[in-house]
Symmetry: C2
Subunit: 440 residues, 2 copies
């Protein structure tokens, strides 16, 4: 980790790709997130790094001999798994090289800049695929505010269960239905049972919701039977993106006991295209969430002083809605919530250490979803279930529309970024999905 870098000096650096130097750009020289892109004429997808409104084709850069030998082969793969599997020293070497190649100071006009320039192409959100082959997708529940809010609706008598402050609660999601940002989401059918009805019926969900989450990508992973200790857990994560854990609340409340959510979630989960490395986010590391007085300390296998000091992330996360009517009216997406990842009860390192503490093996490219990122404020709640009290208090949108849950044609847009004085703004980009009507 580069937390000892001189951030002020770093923050002042500019790229010769001028669009990267705009003050609100998501992808300045200090970010350099990775994604996977498909282009006409390419026989296979390629890894790219974002810089301003351009992307650097890492396959081409590798073939041109511009990249460190340790990562050259991994950068020619059609997905990020191999690079993720190389581990932190290789990630740092690649990042340093890209920063050098794209920096105005380190790569003046000349043959090197020209060689890098030949690997640039315009960014195109529609060309972006999932960043990795995701073998395992685990979803956690790491916001105590979310857990308390949701628990109060599903179990008013016991909103927060006794294990919450001890166990980083998680469950396995469905990897096959992870989709790239921009993929339309079909409203699912399922069993629906009103609390007053004697029997369920089968039909389209009437309580379709989103969940704003952070996705963390696993690096080298671990062999079955060999846990990753908490002190190594932070360095075992490659980077983060945005995740929308679409949820059918009516299916969920009827099906989820006793084995957890299933069809309420596995019809689709959206991922943003860009994986922002934890190195890029180093200036935005914060102490882990301060547990309220009286809460238990984490058990030793989840406790690490360095993680307590730097395991939090000061990342602002926002949700926007754009309805069909708003699109017809030419209206801009409306922000419906804004929260911050630093309020999470469990750090990413704790999630990973817990996951492997029984010997469960993680593999490069596996995704750990944080769970819905909700804070203590009303407008920091990361799903409609919480924002509208299960539809009882609908949102009012520009144009006068109201939303308890999502309608067909609604587009959900997640955005995330880190900002602070003395550091360059680092953006996560967007995760988008529009709701299609249920099938026949």
């Amino acid at each position: 980790m580069t937390v000892e870098l001189n951030f002020t000096h770093e923050a002042a650096r500019r790229s010769w790709v001028e669009s990267a130097n705009e003050p609100v750009a998501d992808f300045p020289l200090q970010n350099l997130p990775y994604g996977v892109c498909r282009q006409l004429g390419w026989p296979a997808p390629r890894i790219v790094a974002a810089i301003g409104d351009q992307v650097l084709d890492l396959a081409a850069a590798s073939e041109a001999g511009l990249l460190p030998p340790t990562v050259a082969a991994a950068c020619r793969e059609p997905a990020l798994n191999a690079l993720m599997g190389l581990g932190a020293p290789a990630w740092s070497a690649l990042r340093a090289r890209l920063s050098e190649l794209l920096g105005a100071d380190t790569c003046p006009a000349g043959p090197s800049r020209a060689a890098a320039g030949r690997c640039l192409l315009p960014a195109s959100p529609a060309a972006m695929l999932l960043p990795a082959r995701i073998g395992g997708y685990t979803d956690f529940y790491a916001s105590i505010f979310h857990a308390t809010n949701v628990g109060s609706m599903f179990r008013p008598e016991a909103p927060l269960l006794p294990n919450y402050k001890w166990v980083p609660v998680g469950y396995h999601g469905r990897a096959s239905s992870l989709v790239a940002s921009g993929t339309a989401i079909r409203r699912p059918h399922g069993q629906l049972k009103d609390s007053t009805a004697a029997a369920p019926v089968f039909g389209p969900s009437r309580q379709l919701d989103y969940e704003l989450e952070l996705a963390a990508f696993v690096g080298p992973g671990n062999a079955l039977g060999t846990p990753i200790p908490i002190r190594q857990a932070g360095d075992s994560l490659f980077g983060v993106g945005l995740l929308n854990d679409w949820s059918a609340r009516d299916l969920q409340s009827w099906e989820y006991q006793p084995l957890g959510p299933f069809l309420a979630k596995n019809f689709a989960t959206s991922l943003s295209p860009w994986v922002v490395t934890l190195e890029a986010l180093a200036p935005f590391r914060r102490p882990a969430f301060t547990r309220p007085a009286g809460d238990p300390a984490p058990l030793p296998y989840l406790a690490d002083p360095a993680d307590q000091r730097l395991g939090g992330l000061d990342l602002t996360l926002e949700v926007f809605l754009l309805t069909a009517q708003m699109r017809a009216d030419g209206a801009a997406p409306q922000r419906v919530s804004r929260g911050n990842f630093s309020v999470m009860y469990w750090t990413l390192a704790q999630l990973l250490a817990h996951h492997t503490s029984n010997g469960c093996n993680l593999q490069p490219g596996d995704v750990l979803g944080s769970g819905t990122v909700s804070g203590p404020e009303q407008d920091s709640r990361g799903c409609l279930l919480e924002l509208t009290q299960r539809g009882a208090g609908p949102l009012t949108l520009p144009g006068g529309e109201r939303r308890g849950f999502l309608h067909d044609g609604d587009e959900v847009i997640l955005r995330g970024y880190a900002e602070q004085a003395g550091a360059r703004r680092i953006g996560l980009g967007e995760c988008r999905g529009i709701v299609l009507p249920a099938g026949p």
Copy 2:
């Protein structure tokens, strides 16, 4: 499906591989299950079919031109996924061809038999790998006897939840920690909390258990957003094997609310090497479980007259224990339970139709676990939790040992077979795993 075949004629057929004609052989000519095997000198694993105490190398058979063109390429793959993806007509064609090649009547001594004979090698359980790359593993809860027994221990006030008779309850398991039969299982660490303790501790599980399950392998699968209707669901499954869903009950009872089992299960799940096709099991199809009077009928998306008539499987499933002391004494494994798959409340077709009913996509080689197969009788309970009332009534083994839960050194052996008058016995083979002490 070949349910219209003349079973009596089929049952009388013999193989020229003499060991396949033994009355209690698991792998007669009528079975022909598929697996994946590794041998010294082979650059990659190969698909094989079991016949008596031999296996037929399908890669070699394919290269020798012995197999139908539709399956020839899939049979040269290092796993069964491609063959599973081809669908029922291709599966039937391959099965018919293998039956012809290996039948004493259809393949008399001569060049064809000699060509097939050159593809035979002795079976070796230790050489068998997982039969497929398993992208998705879903575990169900389809025995109402298991659900009621377990519920009475975890939730005495509500043993069977209100959704059970409506929803084929399931959840996502961990695919990365599926292991081949014979892989040793390390006892997991985890959070343990006695009901009287104020706080959990972290340590090795003291309540390690097995679960006897049937694994069904998905065939071609479905695209995201396109459910598989119940009428097509039966033909969408390639075959079945045995699955041991190792479970740490102490971890499970503390962690499982509200999102379901996680670390209590994902440290390892064992699969048997042989996938027995549903075609081979056609003579053992039975009416689906008869729901007790007063139980609701399945909702229309789960109801199919053909599945009601033939969705049950008359498969005997057994669990054996072999402790370290028994091994030292030269004792044989001791059977601790025997049940039958025909008591399952939900059919395999219902599990698959439910899984895809919201559009969730299944892929070739995905595994659907049935959940613990327990029947109404005490000795048909498929896990120690049920057999010993959570350890309160331990089993007594030969030599006088007692078991509430598993000890280090215990080996669990699952076996399964179908038998009836007028049909050849069809065996599933074995699924074995021995418990290793917890790591440091």
